[in-house]
């Protein structure tokens, strides 16, 4: 009996060893960090949702290579009334949805009204929108209660996105998204792949948005939660592109014959979010003590290990961005524990633990928190590290009783007003009157040069009042097959122009 089992085992191993893997032609395989939670990009702010859905859903506007807003489903930039309250947006003609119907203003109207209702970014400006009206089959008019300059960036952003659906499918929940994008959703096997195929009825947007050439027949997004598995898949030639890789894999990928690293430099900024609603950090002197104590260069080094992957930089936007300025940055990276101790004394600090909420979901968060803890303890703080899984962190940070600081990160967003931490309504509750007044001016101002100057004021007050704590800039690592071209490095890489040379 046992020998029979042995023989069976041997034959089974040989049988499946003989079967050969099959590779499809014209397919780009992309390893992503997990399944998208939804294919309705209005409903989520997760990057993985944006990466996938941008291929089949489109917005009225998008960003060009320099992060300037350019028309996508709109035919042109809007005509804005002199008082800055009315945006008249011309729509492109001849645009088809993937169900064959033609896009018109009724679809745009219904979609934008849904966006106001269900999308977090839409809800955020709903009280500023007086009305949205169709002005004929190819025109839409948005009227505001007060000038709000980030409107176009919000309409362009692929995250909590104002995408356009056919009016007929508009509902609170959309399970089968139909868009106007260059690809359409063909199949979804949870935990296995999302398969997109070319949409033959696609019409190209204007030149500013760039051509979406629909080169691959298929794009497959494969959820691979484990970072080392994504690396091995890339290096073995299984994937053409892999998102969000550990920086430790950089050298291996660089030495590979089949793949090469893609460094997004810089990608974003780690942030210590400050609880302004309750607890220790509501005291300005305590916040200043934290700011004075933290050694940002050491924290970045501990988190990323190599200067290839980070920059010790206090400006909220990196070099090359229009929003960059140095206002307030003299308060960055002070690394003076004695000065921090003096602030603590002034605050009458009684040893109440400073609770840092963090997770090991992103190892660099935890590593930064560990270095921060040591520096804060040297300054005289009692530090309580609450290290939890990401699900718990996501829940606990909504309860201001449970934390004083939590660690997060964000890519550099094209419009500063998209950073929710600046707003008093965010979970951090930063409700400083001076900041509120500056932010109000910033969102009302439409002149780009004046907005830059006001943003410098906003950054300055963020340092002076310790509204949020920027740790530095960090680079993200992605990887691509050596024979893959046509993909612009981005936090949200798109694959409609991707081609693989034979």
């Amino acid at each position: 009996m046992t020998f029979r089992a042995v023989c069976l085992a041997g034959s089974a191993v040989l049988a499946f060893a003989a079967a050969a893997p099959v590779a499809a032609q014209g397919t780009v395989e992309v390893a992503i960090v997990g399944d998208p939670d939804t294919f309705d990009p209005m409903m989520s702010t997760k990057d993985v949702v944006s990466i996938v859905t941008q291929h089949f859903m489109e917005t009225l506007y998008t960003f060009d290579d320099n992060w300037a807003v350019v028309p996508l489903l709109a035919a042109d930039m809007p005509t804005i009334s002199e008082d800055g309250l009315t945006y008249t947006i011309p729509l492109r003609k001849g645009v088809s949805f993937q169900d064959g119907s033609a896009m018109d203003s009724a679809d745009v109207l219904a979609s934008l009204q849904r966006w106001e209702k269900v999308a977090s970014r839409g809800q955020g400006i709903a009280d500023k929108i007086d009305s949205i009206k169709a002005g004929g089959p190819n025109e839409i008019t948005i009227t505001l209660n007060e000038p709000y300059s980030p409107l176009l960036s919000l309409l362009a952003f692929s995250n909590s996105a104002a995408v356009i659906y056919p009016e007929e499918i508009i509902a609170d929940t959309i399970d089968k998204p139909i868009g106007t994008g260059p690809y359409k959703l063909q199949a979804y096997e949870p935990d296995q792949y999302t398969q997109l195929v070319r949409f033959d009825g696609y019409t190209q947007p204007g030149e500013a948005a760039g051509k979406r050439q629909q080169i691959p027949d298929e794009i497959r997004f494969v959820p691979v939660p484990d970072t080392s598995t994504r690396v091995e898949g890339l290096l073995s030639g299984q994937f053409d592109y892999a998102d969000s890789l550990s920086t430790e894999a950089y050298d291996r990928i660089a030495k590979s014959e089949v793949a090469e690293p893609v460094l997004l430099e810089p990608f974003g900024w780690p942030i210590f979010a400050v609880n302004h609603k309750k607890g220790l950090m509501t005291d300005l002197n305590i916040r200043r003590a934290v700011q004075a104590a933290l050694p940002f260069d050491d924290m970045l080094f501990a988190a990323f290990g190599d200067e290839k992957f980070f920059q010790t930089d206090g400006a909220f936007y990196p070099e090359g961005w229009t929003w960059r300025n140095d206002a307030g940055t003299e308060l960055y990276n002070i690394n003076d524990q004695e000065k921090a101790a003096a602030y603590l004394k002034e605050a009458g600090y009684d040893g109440t633990p400073l609770r840092i909420l963090t997770s090991r979901q992103y190892e660099f968060h935890y590593q930064m928190a560990e270095v921060a803890r040591m520096a804060l303890e040297m300054a005289g703080f009692t530090v309580q590290m609450d290290v939890v899984d990401w699900a718990t962190l996501a829940q606990n940070r909504d309860n201001p009783d449970l934390w004083d600081m939590y660690i997060t990160h964000s890519p550099f967003l094209p419009e500063p007003a998209l950073t929710s931490s600046f707003f008093a309504t965010a979970r951090e509750g930063w409700n400083n009157p001076k900041k509120n007044e500056i932010l109000d001016r910033f969102t009302r101002e439409t002149d780009p040069e004046k907005r830059k100057a006001i943003y410098a004021e906003l950054q300055k007050v963020a340092y002076e009042d310790v509204g949020l704590i920027k740790v530095g800039n960090f680079n993200a690592l992605q990887g691509k097959a050596k024979n893959l071209s046509g993909v612009r490095p981005s936090p949200w890489p798109a694959f409609w122009n991707a081609s693989t040379a034979e």
Partner: protein
Amino acid sequence: MSRYLLRRLIGMVVVIFLVLTIAFVLVRLAPGDPASLLLGPDATPDEVVALRRRLGLDQPILVQYATFVGNALQGNLGESLFFNQPVTQVLASRAEPTAFLALFSLLVALVIATPIGIWAAYRRGSVLDQGSITTAMLAASVPSFLTGLIFQRYLATDLGWFPASGYGGAGAGFGTRMWHLVLPSITLGITNSALILRFTRASMLDILGEDYVRTARAKGMTERRVVLRHALKNAGIPIITVIGLTFALLVSGAVVTERVFNLPGMGNLVVNAVLRRDYPVIQGTLIVVAGLYVLVNLLTDLLYLVVDKRVKY
């Protein structure tokens, strides 16, 4: 016999009901809100409240429990919060890779463990015996994620002999899917061969010292016939027990291997479900795994009847 079977079946129902209750309580004791996770980092508190209401998570815990048990009794394990599909459907779609991975791993473990175990017992005290014990300890000591990563790096990435991960992708045929199980099966099989090897060796050692084995040899039977026909058959019950337990362990314990090789099986599903706080899927998986355990135990006990005619229930 029928009374025995009835008793066991009632026991199975009790165990599954207990698991069902424990699963329900445990997943809700864990902090973390599925609605916050599903909506993403910038969701407003109002959105979270609305989604909790839509998912039924705002109901009192007893109402949720009563609904859960009532539905489970009708074979309805609820709907996945993440996939928006019935849990039974989600589990069914994950059954194939897990079942074949368990089966192939068991075969790999048997191919390695059984002949070596028999030979080690037969040559007790020899270099092979000592070597096999040491190797078994080593195989049992190295965690499967490490073995998996090493195999993945050298056999898949560097040598290109096997796929590094996944289950073949869209439209993959049965052969391709099975091909993707080779490396995970070897990984898991090696780790699990140690226990079977040790049981086989110990069981055979006991039997080889019995009088009837000496008698068989005295009658002039060949050593091959003595070992394989007389000794191995009588050493079967403990070996079957450990094989049964190993199979149940493989079905439920392939979590790490499925993760490393990114296989869309039940192990990977349950890890993702925990991270996403997908309560119905966690509960459903626990119930299915508990049911499998109990069933495999029952089948193992029934197999004794076939192997040893002296066993009576």
